[in-house]
């Protein structure tokens, strides 16, 4: 029984080698761990490894394959990659480098400033729009060099979460694909 597990940017194969009650023998990329592994509540585990005490809390994110994980010292995002996830991941690989970006605000707010117009050339890091939301003003910047393809935001306007504000078409060495 083994799966690939993704933690932040790392992917490792985890395999359950044996289990006797709370005593587990597990391998992570071939490295063996002998653990005292106890469930103390919903998604909460206490693990002793060579007497070291680890507490791990898993909070599921949409379903059973993705988790926010809290340990005493850190927080992580972890994903189980089984056949289905692996397929989705491989399909997505090709699209990773999109050639344009839609700039939008994750929360509703009011457009305070729009610094660009359609056709403007912009540099990575250049501020495009300023949105006021939750008592704060936030600047939205160009992720890469490019050309402004469209501007949907106008100053003073209220915008919803994820509403398109500006679309940038990125410049590339070998121009468009």
């Amino acid at each position: 029984m083994s799966y690939e597990i993704k933690l932040q940017n790392r992917i490792a194969r985890v395999e359950l080698l044996s289990r006797q009650g709370d005593q587990l023998l597990v391998a992570v990329d071939g490295k063996e761990y002998s653990l005292d592994f106890v469930r103390i509540g919903k998604g909460r585990y206490s693990i002793l490894h060579k007497n070291k005490s680890y507490n791990v809390e898993l909070i599921p994110v949409n379903g059973i394959k993705k988790y926010h994980v809290n340990t005493f010292k850190n927080t992580y995002e972890v994903e189980i990659i089984d056949a289905e996830s692996a397929y989705l991941a491989s399909r997505h690989q090709g699209q990773e480098d999109d050639d344009e970006a839609v700039i939008s605000s994750p929360i509703p707010g009011k457009v305070m400033k729009v610094y660009v117009r359609e056709g403007d050339a912009v540099e990575a890091g250049q501020t495009l729009v300023v949105i006021a939301a939750m008592k704060m003003e936030s600047e939205f910047k160009a992720p890469k060099d490019g050309i402004v393809r469209s501007v949907s935001a106008s100053e003073g306007q209220s915008v919803d979460a994820r509403q398109e504000l500006v679309t940038i078409e990125f410049s590339t060495e070998n121009t468009k694909s």
């Binding site: 029984m1 044996s18 289990r19 994750p106």
Partner: protein, 501 residues
């Protein structure tokens, strides 16, 4: 005597005010917008009244609705908290008209301190040091240029009606003057509807140090010492501490006296805060007065041993302060960390969401004031402050060590937050040294944003745990996979046994 208080606010400060009311046996009325029906202050108060839709202009800033709620509920006093209507002289006046006690200063004091130019002039008359600069509103560019010539660069151009960093421009070179002036005025116009600005000497390596004051209705004004608030991001405070690590006893006393003089100059009543800007030679200048309770008031409560909300209510009841300046002392050291629902990886954008899990720290020296609970949706309409961690230690070092311990225990899941960022600040040399300025966050950005590496095998353990949880869930779903696993175990054990022979 006040018997029932309407708390015209929300979030942690509303809950905090209700706590002190409860201890005084005073009934409380919470008010709530559409978004806040399930908010903690509604659950915690004795009564709760709806005051309008979610946007604060239609609810928490809606004077008529709040006054109506006070009348309907029979509240004899209103506590405005901080933000919202707390520094609105019309609201204070309106309460007076309605015969409702406003727990805060009279309208005149709010107005005088609310306009920066009036405040500045009043302070100069009272002998309180102000930042060198122009004494009046500036409306022409030529006037501005000649004044800058007098003060000498660098200068700061500020919106007269402003606050929160809006309409502010730093000018360090002559050729920037015109552009900066125009930008400041246009920003001031759009933010406050008033393009008047004033010009001040720019203080390099500035410290933001403020004094808590209390003034009763019998002529007594005292201060409760300072708070060091220089850890700021975009003019928003993140960590405050008291005593300030940079003040000398003599300077502490002088600034306290200046703070009392400042409050006296506007015939202040109630609790208020005098903000000073302090340069590297400990020269101090009046910055502004906040005519209300501050977010960071708990560190003063902890070190001076006074419940400031109770004192506000006593003063509103017309009681004289029952301690004098010489009765007050700073005992030990306190640090407040503000926990915001924001995303440190995305330029600290506010990040509303549903709280799925909280672990709150306890034990010696730890106080938590918060407004969230498991299952609560942090609404997107209001300030992203969701909790405050207030930690006391017998000295600064213990307060620091204890704050780190408490932050490590503090976990909030489901809502992105700055807890780990706060931990990084408490490990930064610049903060530990104590002599940090308002540029601290900016200057230490790289250190503060770095991820702490995982020690030992913790990443592997995390992956194993996720793996086991996943197995647990799919086994529940499909008992067939289980049998496959069992066979694997058998095979594995067989191999192991062979090896041991």
């Amino acid at each position: 005597m006040i018997k029932k208080i309407l708390v015209a606010n929300r979030g942690e400060i509303a809950v905090r005010i209700i706590r002190s009311c409860r201890e005084m046996d005073i009934l409380t009325v919470a008010v709530y917008s559409d978004a806040d029906r399930k908010a903690l202050h509604v659950l915690y108060a004795d009564e709760a009244m709806h005051i309008g839709p979610s946007p604060s202009v239609e609810s928490y800033l809606n004077i008529e609705n709040i006054i109506r709620a006070a009348r309907l509920s029979g509240a004899d006093a209103i506590h405005p908290g901080y933000g919202f209507l707390s520094e609105n002289p019309d609201f204070s006046a309106r309460c007076q008209e309605e015969g409702i006690v406003f727990i805060g200063p009279p309208p005149r004091a709010i107005s005088m301190m609310g306009d920066k130019i009036t405040a500045r002039k009043t302070m100069m008359d009272a002998g309180v040091p102000v930042v060198p600069g122009a004494g009046g509103k500036i409306t022409s560019e030529d006037e501005a240029i000649s004044i800058i010539g007098e003060i000498g660069l660098p200068v700061m151009i500020k919106a007269s009606a402003g606050g929160g960093g809006k309409g502010m421009r730093l000018v360090t070179r002559n050729k920037e003057i015109t552009a900066a002036l125009r930008a400041a005025r246009s920003e001031a116009k759009s933010a406050f509807g008033d393009d008047a600005v004033f010009i001040e000497k720019y203080i390099e390596s500035p410290h933001h140090i403020e004094y808590q004051i209390l003034a009763d209705n019998h002529g007594q004004v005292i201060h409760l010492f300072e708070r060091e608030c220089s850890v700021q991001r975009r003019h928003q405070k993140i960590i405050e501490e008291t005593p300030s690590p940079i003040l000398t006893p003599q300077r502490r006393r002088q600034m306290g006296e200046a703070a009392v003089a400042a409050a006296r100059a506007v015939d202040y009543r109630g609790a208020g805060t005098i903000e000073f800007i302090v340069d590297k030679d400990l020269n101090y200048y009046f910055l502004e007065m906040n005519t209300r309770l501050q977010v960071e008031h708990p560190i003063t409560e902890r070190v001076v041993g006074v419940d400031l909300v109770k004192e506000q209510i006593h003063i509103a009841n017309g009681k004289p302060l029952n301690f004098a300046q010489e009765d007050l002392k700073q005992q030990g050291h306190a640090i407040e960390c503000r926990v915001y629902a924001e995303d440190p990886d995305n330029n600290f954008m506010p990040a509303p969401g549903t709280v799925t899990h909280i672990d709150i720290p306890y034990g010696v020296g730890v106080r938590v004031d918060g407004s969230i609970y498991e299952g609560f949706d942090v609404p997107l309409f209001y300030d992203p402050l969701i909790a405050k961690l207030i930690v006391w230690g017998k000295d600064r070092n213990e307060a620091l060590e204890r704050s780190r311990r408490a932050l490590k225990e503090f976990k909030i899941t489901g809502v992105k937050n700055n807890l780990r960022f706060l931990e990084r600040i408490l490990h930064a040399k610049g903060f530990i040294g104590g002599d940090y300025t308002t540029h601290f966050i900016e200057e230490h950005k790289d250190f503060l944003m770095r991820e702490e590496p995982c020690e030992d095998h913790c990443e592997d353990i995390v992956m194993i745990t996720a793996f086991m949880e996943y197995l647990r869930k799919i086994r529940k779903a499909s008992p067939r996979e289980m049998s496959t696993l069992k066979n694997n175990w058998k095979d594995y054990n067989r191999v192991r046994n062979v090896l041991k022979l």
